[in-house]
């Protein structure tokens, strides 16, 4: 399957990358290529130019900066899964990254690429939502941060402007939280039929604050606000656990497909949420 022709640029700085994209209307950013290249092979995308971000130093690395964890957009899933700073400050992000696709995909795919692609069943959108992360982007107009909560708009649709490129994902450091990501993957594709990311801050045996995010269930990943509201400030009893899990898809249009009906997905989301909350209650 030979690809159609396109122009290819390999800039070595962010400024150069942005300039090259401006000069080639319709250009797409190329990160790991694990989503874009299959789309091009299937002729679902035919960009006239690719601007490869692999040589841009500004997008590489994981570090602590002030009170945030800074994860460069070109950080590959395999690195994210094993990075000690990610394990310490955002363990659910590492857990989610370790479950993306398969080893070959994790060796090439990047956090920036995955978030920009915004597959409704991808793992990392749930992770960045549950972590209250910010997507840091750059364009010819300068830089801005897009809160994860406002980033995912629909299937393969994000708040990115066409000329914006993801530079990094920043995760706020707000003290100890118990975190988990649990996925029910489709056995062939590995995509989430349901994926639940949760981060709970505890005060004694009470949940001081709760972030619960869901992927694979609706046309984009979302925060389960009713579940979070029920949990906040409460002791996580068995009864509350069942109640809070049961409303995890409330207010969402749950979708059904060949693999899982809407009814099944809704049920599985509740069960998986209950398991994640039980784990976070027992853990520590």
């Amino acid at each position: 399957m030979t690809l159609g022709t396109f122009r290819y640029e390999r800039p070595s700085s962010l400024d150069e990358a942005i300039r090259q994209a401006v000069e080639a209307p319709g250009a797409r950013w190329l990160a790991g290529g694990m989503s874009l290249l299959p789309l091009m092979k299937m002729e679902l995308a035919a960009p006239p130019a690719l601007v490869d971000l692999a040589g841009v130093e500004d997008l590489v690395g994981v570090r602590e900066r002030d009170d945030v964890l800074w994860v460069g957009a070109m950080t590959r899933h395999a690195e994210l899964a094993l990075h000690p700073l990610v394990a310490r400050h955002a363990s659910l992000l590492a857990a989610a990254a370790s479950q993306v696709g398969d080893p070959q995909v994790r060796n090439r795919g990047t956090i920036g690429g995955s978030l920009a692609h915004a597959d409704p069943a991808a793992d990392l959108p749930a992770a960045v939502l549950a972590l209250d992360a910010t997507i840091q982007v750059a364009s010819p107009r300068g830089r801005r941060g897009i809160p994860a909560g406002g980033f995912f708009l629909g299937p393969l649709m994000t708040a990115l402007e066409p000329d914006e490129v993801i530079v990094a994902v920043t995760v706020p450091q707000r003290g100890a939280r118990r975190q988990a990501y649990r996925k029910r993957p489709h056995p062939a594709s590995g995509y989430a039929v349901v994926g639940i990311a949760a981060s709970l801050r505890w005060e004694g045996d009470r949940v001081a604050s709760a972030a619960v995010a869901v992927t694979g269930v609706a046309d984009h990943a979302f925060r389960a606000q009713r579940t979070e509201a029920l949990l906040t400030g409460e002791v996580l009893t068995d009864a509350l656990l069942v109640e809070a899990s049961g409303v995890v898809t409330d207010g969402q249009e749950v979708w059904g497909d060949l693999y899982a009906s809407a009814e099944y997905r809704r049920h599985l989301a509740g069960v998986t949420t209950r398991q994640v909350l039980e784990h976070l209650r027992a853990d520590g």
Partner: protein, 167 residues
């Protein structure tokens, strides 16, 4: 005149120990480069949609599906294909273990399975069965049912570890 929409790039790659610099078009996939330019046809293309893993090769030691990466994305890298593993009269421990454990039938996926297994065992020569299955998640074999593949990878890991101790 060079097509401005398919601008060639000079790419230096080391493939199975040989370093070359070539001017290549951006739409050339690594699988196409290996098979059609270098005639290294041991790397098989199965699904061509990055699902089956038959085309897996090592890029700087990491398993990568060569049907889903452009050669121009890989300047300065080291590529290893199944041709670089062993020779018919001197098989790599992983190849030897696959032969002994009957871990292949039609053999189409085998080059990709071998390279994936080598990457896995280079990281940890003694993976558990569960770790092997997780490590081979990116390959599909339609013949063996995987039992013999898992057994072969275990056997190969023991062989590689023994060879290192001797070696």
């Amino acid at each position: 005149m060079m097509d401005p929409s398919n601008n060639h790039h000079a790419v230096t790659l080391t493939v199975n120990g040989q370093t070359r610099t070539e001017s290549l078009p951006p739409n050339l996939l690594l699988s196409e480069y290996l098979r059609d330019h270098l005639r290294l046809t041991g790397t098989h293309v199965g699904c061509d949609t990055s699902q089956c893993g038959a085309c897996t090769v090592l890029v700087d030691g990491a398993a990568v599906k060569s049907c889903t990466v452009l050669v121009v994305q890989l300047p300065g890298t080291t590529i290893e294909t199944v041709e670089g593993l062993g020779r018919p009269d001197q098989l790599h421990p992983v190849q030897e273990a696959f032969r002994e454990a009957h871990a292949l039938q039609c053999g189409f996926c085998t080059p990709g399975v071998l390279m994936t297994a080598v990457a896995l065992l280079n990281g940890d020569p003694h993976p558990t069965d569960a770790e092997i299955r997780r490590g081979l998640d990116g390959i599909i074999c339609r013949c063996t049912g995987y039992e013999n593949i898992v057994a072969a990878v275990t056997r190969a890991g023991n062989g590689m570890a023994a060879a290192q101790e001797v070696g």
